[in-house]
Symmetry: C2
Subunit: 254 residues, 2 copies
């Protein structure tokens, strides 16, 4: 038995999200069906996590086991010939059988792109949230700093979230300005459903002067989803990278 780890890039625009579900086509489903055609056996993909409908990924890790003795290239070039242009396998490698992308993930990096132009941008419409009005980026940076650390993020949890605990560790939240665009990079050990999008919606309200940076502290103290900001729309969000800490480094030891 082999355990193969794929790294997948996708444009989430036309999908109902990563995970197989009854309504709409999922990215996981497209990949599993293509792998089954390639391998002539049933395949189950295990990812590091899910992404919502419309959310993108530059590098989603997902693994599967197979008994077939097929060269790794079949899982990049070969698989890419079987899936639509808005999904692509960027890398495939063999990993130890005990490797599980969800369990071994030590850090997840998401980025959210805001477009602050006066008028909407056709060329960035599928990959950013258009926010009119000027944002106080200084105030947003102060607010962003309050997220860092281990906190109860219950105020930043979307409906339908099945997580047992709402305690999460956020490592960093950085804001970078680039012309009409403001990019918010969020790194953390794990996230609740919609958490980055609600954090972003709340930061935008700070930027627009509708709440002050210190309101984040209250939201982290007293769980209250209705007191937090709106859920930013999905198309601005991308999963950038998932790190596996020392797993692969330790694997090389005798």
């Amino acid at each position: 038995m082999r355990n193969i780890l794929l790294t997948i890039e996708y444009d989430g625009t036309n999908y109902a999200g990563w995970q197989v579900q009854p309504n709409g086509l999922a990215i996981q489903q497209v990949l599993e069906e293509a792998l089954e055609r390639l391998l002539k056996e049933q395949v189950r993909l295990y990812s590091s996590g899910r992404t919502d409908a419309g959310v993108h990924a530059m590098a989603m890790p997902a693994s599967f086991t197979t008994t077939r003795d097929i060269p790794l290239k079949a899982f990049t070039a070969g698989l890419n010939g079987l899936i639509p242009p808005d999904i692509a396998v960027k890398d495939a490698r063999e990993v130890p059988l005990e490797f599980n992308p969800r369990r071994e993930a030590t850090l997840k990096h998401y980025c959210y792109s805001l477009h602050l132009g006066q008028n909407r941008s056709p060329l960035r419409r599928l990959y950013s949230w258009h926010v009119r009005g000027s944002l106080d980026v200084g105030a947003m940076r102060i607010a962003a700093g309050h997220f860092v650390g281990e906190h109860d993020f219950a105020s930043f949890r979307g409906t339908g979230c099945a997580a047992k605990t709402t305690i999460r560790v956020v490592k960093s939240v950085t804001l970078s300005e680039n012309g009409e665009f403001l990019q918010i990079d969020v790194k953390g050990v794990g996230f609740l459903r919609n958490m980055v999008r609600i954090m972003t919606g709340t930061l935008v309200e700070v930027g627009l002067g509708r709440r002050n940076p210190e309101s984040i502290l209250d939201l982290l103290r007293v769980p209250d989803r209705s007191a937090a900001g709106v859920t930013a729309p999905p198309q601005g969000l991308s999963l950038v990278e998932v790190s596996f800490g020392s797993f692969f480094a330790e694997d090389k030891k005798p």
Copy 2:
């Protein structure tokens, strides 16, 4: 009578190009129909030039005349409410009646984006050309330098081009590497049909080692379309900006 100059951004993916034509929907047509709904009079848009089907624009200038006394905001926010999300008016201003975007254009800036990754990129598929294999960017830069100046670009003219002369002035061709992407910026006084795309296709053949940089000199000396490279696909190309030299500066003089 007023002469209004619009600056338009569009994602060309779903259009048959800028210019109204019998097969497929043109960007010009979408805008003219929206303007006619707004103004209740017939409108004819005059652009700085055309773009092919699938080519994008960050800032296409196009002007029209109207007798209506409507505030300029109607031609940005108002018009954007009447057109689809893949087209947007970024700016509207009143210009002298004698201003014509084609005649007054002094410099056009196009950029072409190449994706050099081993596997295709879902997130950039609509805005780049995926070229497999490593490119010799040094050789491409030497070749690019040969384009600069006033030359007969007949070897770089697409079929159906109706230009009377094939002499054109290219001001600069610069290549910038950014991770897996190589951006080619071309600035010139004017271009023949498909000229930037054929220049790009030829530069890629230089990069792949299939022709040497000096072959550009032969192509500029002896008109022969079949000796030049392939026409690079449209989705990698964007019109970045059109400059009008001193027209508006001189207009401010008494």
